[in-house]
């Protein structure tokens, strides 16, 4: 259902990015990259809120003609961005939310790997397969 999943480091460089129509990868790179503006903006707006009450899910970042871009930010300012086909109306906010939660859990697992260097690109196979499962679940 998701067409593109990206994990972005605190310093706004990609740790992981994968999209399903691989032939047009660059388009998604651009899309996710520009969405960071909105993420930044949302984070800075949230900054005033209490830290522990903060909602990690950022909601819809922006819609484009064909896709919807959703965002999620962890407490350590690692961002998850998910691009979803906008024709897929079955996808509700709640589902997106749970997908992000799954992604977050998987990311935490990656982080727990003592051989993973925080800040490196994610090459974990487990993470990869989890993302794949999220991508093909419905479509």
């Amino acid at each position: 259902m998701a067409v593109c999943v990206a994990v972005i480091a605190k310093e706004n460089y990609p740790l992981y990015i994968r999209s399903i129509p691989t032939e047009n990868e660059l388009k998604f790179h651009y899309m996710v990259h520009t969405s960071l503006d909105v993420v930044d903006e949302k984070i800075s707006a949230m900054g005033k809120a209490l830290v522990d009450q903060r909602e990690l899910y950022l909601g819809l970042l922006y819609p484009t003609e064909d896709y919807k871009v959703y965002g999620y930010v962890t407490n350590s300012k690692v961002k998850f961005v998910m691009v979803v086909d906008s024709s897929n109306t079955a996808l509700r906010d709640n589902e997106i939310r749970s997908m992000f939660r799954k992604l977050h859990n998987s990311y935490t697992d990656v982080m727990c790997n003592p051989f993973y260097n925080p800040g490196d690109r994610i090459h974990s196979r487990a993470f990869d397969s989890m993302v794949t499962s999220m991508m093909i679940q419905v479509c």
């Binding site: 310093e11 460089y13 990609p14 790179h29 651009y30 990259h33 520009t34 903006e41 819609p63 800040g119």
Partner: protein, 914 residues
Amino acid sequence: MSVPDYMQCAEDHQTLLVVVQPVGIVSEENFFKIYKRISSVSQISVRDSQRVLYIRYRHHYPPENNEWGDFQTHRKVVGLITITDCFSAKDWPQTFEKFHVQKEIYGSTLYDSRLFVFGLQGEIAEQPRTDVAFYPNYEDCQTVEKRIEDFIESLFIVLESKRLDRATDKSGDKIPLLCVPFEKKDFVGLDTDSRHYKKRCQGRMRKHVGDLCLQAGMLQDSLVHYHMSVELLRSVNDFLWLGAALEGLCSASVIYHYPGGTGGETGARRFQGSSLPAEAANRHRPGAQEVLIDPGALTTNGINPDTSAEIGRAKNCLSPEDIIDKYKEAISYYSKYKNAGVIELEACVKAVRVLAIQKRSMEASEFLQNAVYINLRQLSEEEKIQRYSILSELYELIGFHRKSAFFKRVAAMQCVAPSIAEPGWRACYKLLLETLPGYSLSLDPKDFSKGTHRGWAAVQMRLLHELVYASRRMGNPALSVRHLSFLLQTMLDFLSDQEKKDVTQSLENYTCKCPGTMELLTLPGGPTLPPVPFTKLPIVSSGLGAWQPCVWRMSLLLCGCANSFLDFQWVQGDVCEVQLMVYNPMPFELRVENMGLLTSGVEFESLPAALSLPAESGLYPVTLVGVPQTTGTITVNGYHTTVFGVFSDCLLDNLPGVKTSGSTVEVIPALPRLQISTSLPRSAHSLQPSSGDETSTNVSVQLYNGETQQLVIKLENIGMEPLEKLEVTSKILTTKEKLYGDFLSWNLEETLAQFPLQPGKVATFVVNIKVKLDFSCQENLLQDLSDDGISVSGFPLCSPFRQVVRPRVESKPVNPPEGSKPGDPSHVKTLEAILNFKYSGGPGHVEGYYRNLSLGLHVEAEPSVFFTRVSTLPATSTRQCHLLLDVFNSTEHELTVSARGNEELILHAGECQR
């Protein structure tokens, strides 16, 4: 209305539009000189009232936009100033005619017009005319500003009269229906007497009066009128005009809240002239009072008298939050009309500017997002570029740098769209450069040398590719080479093998035409582009060393030098070596040319090397050589290469894989050089590893025990300096063997007699090698004999034991000859020695420097005789016995064995005798 003005901001609603145009042939330079002076008069305080008029000057304004003047009066061209050249009175009537033609274009809306004539003198020029001003030339026209002020005042009078006229229309009079161009045909045959229609007319007129009030500097009044208009129009569902009324309301509120202006530069300029915000608010009050004086005007107009209660109250003014809500509403109304696309777009732009000031980026981005989707009629390419650039600018304004970069890039691509006949590669390139910060990409490779690359590689790579392509099409191969090498350098980790090949291929193609250099490249500022402050930005590589060799990582081991740098010296005029370990990460063979050392401190002639590294090679040592030309301390701080035609200087400091930041060597004065050659064959195997000293050559010789051989060493002076002094020492490495006598001996005097040795001359030096070793304990036989502890101890004492011993001994007689064949390693002993030649001469000698040369000597000594069998025979006396030894001559020569008893035995080669 088709051409959107992307620069519009909310304040423009209060301005009067004046078009300044040249007529006939006026040079651009002159025109803009005057235009600049005219536009400096952008605000005027009208005398005897405290109102301020703002003027917006345009030198180009499409007449079809003028047709929307009734809709929003700031779109209406109210003033026209024409500038013309006229040199003779004869041309005058014609010029004047042209002025009138020009006036016709905007005729319907013009309040007043002026003609500035330059160059004409004489009779005509002396006639006092209000609409024409004569100036002798473009320099001598000090009164231009005054003229403009007068002109604006006359505009104000017309405006004021219109305002009062409209505001006080008698209810009995029929209020004309104002409409926008595309509406005209919709109202044909409409019942003009219906209440609905009347209300519509009233509402629109109210809005129009509001516009006029705003322009006339009566902010509070305009707010009142807009409010009334909104109510009227809402009741009749006249959405387009309702939108306009709401927008007017917003504009007025914005002007009230943000006297500093929202339009950036223009706003700032305006602010300089205007007074403080508080004062600005006061300034509007008189206008409000004016309306109060004439309340009848309102009531008689058929407007609900209740609204008049609001007059003068700041409540009329929208709060900042409301402004945005109302903008949203207005835009949603506009969007109902396809033909009002431009209005909608402009409203979006204005709203974004307001939001940018309010720092509400999220909402601003929504407006912009909406603006992106507003579909205007088919845009020309130029308009598209303009549109994308402005979107990019606005995104930048609200702090969305990435989005801004994205649109800028789109604009850049639009510049060179295939549909354009003449692609603007320069513009494209310039725009692309501006996108770099948005993609957090700097063109200074220094920023990339630290640690791993972090960023949006795919996106950045694309951008770099585009830069390369644009610069190539621009006809600046140096730039494209620079970008391409940058791409290769920084993005190497992200390129696939195929891409690597492609990139290098194209780099080679470019460098054929223009070799890559280390110079700073200055960006050319396009002559037709507006000046951008950073056109002189140095884009890449500041001189030395910003350039890592693009293709390989150096893991540098200054072999021998790096670790023990100060342990040795280099000699002036001699070839020195530095060893580097390199590897080629590319999937194909890499040709490196012109690789040499970069040094400082001493004049150094680097002798470049060319090498070819196999694909994906492992560490590969490269020796770089050079000749220091003077003495002193030399620092090796880098190296230079030419790869794919790109010349690069690499400093060790900037290489991540290298720990040292250069190595220092002392260069000493010239010394002679000796080359030695010996009469003995060179040996392949070096001395024992523990030898410590390094030897230049090794020679080896095989000798039999006791043999003496002469080693003739030829000393040839191959240096440039005479050899003056020579000392020879020797050191024997193998010390565990017992050595009898002198192993090496020489007579130095003979050699020294030939000194000083001039360059090219040869001297000989003779060393005698004498091998005299103790092989005794090694022989098996004796070991056998001594193995038997009892027999040995008992041997000299009692003979009965002999019998016991003998069979034992005899049981093995055959073995020794077999087991100890000549040359069998177990019997060969090795002697190793080093001959050290310490010599000096020339200037170096004066300073006390010596050069060392060592000759390794490897001698394999073999025993010359073997005792193959030992046995005893009882002698005549019991106290004695005969010791019988079987002696075997293992050499190829005849030898004499002599014992103490003066017996001599001659053994022939390979012979065994008793």
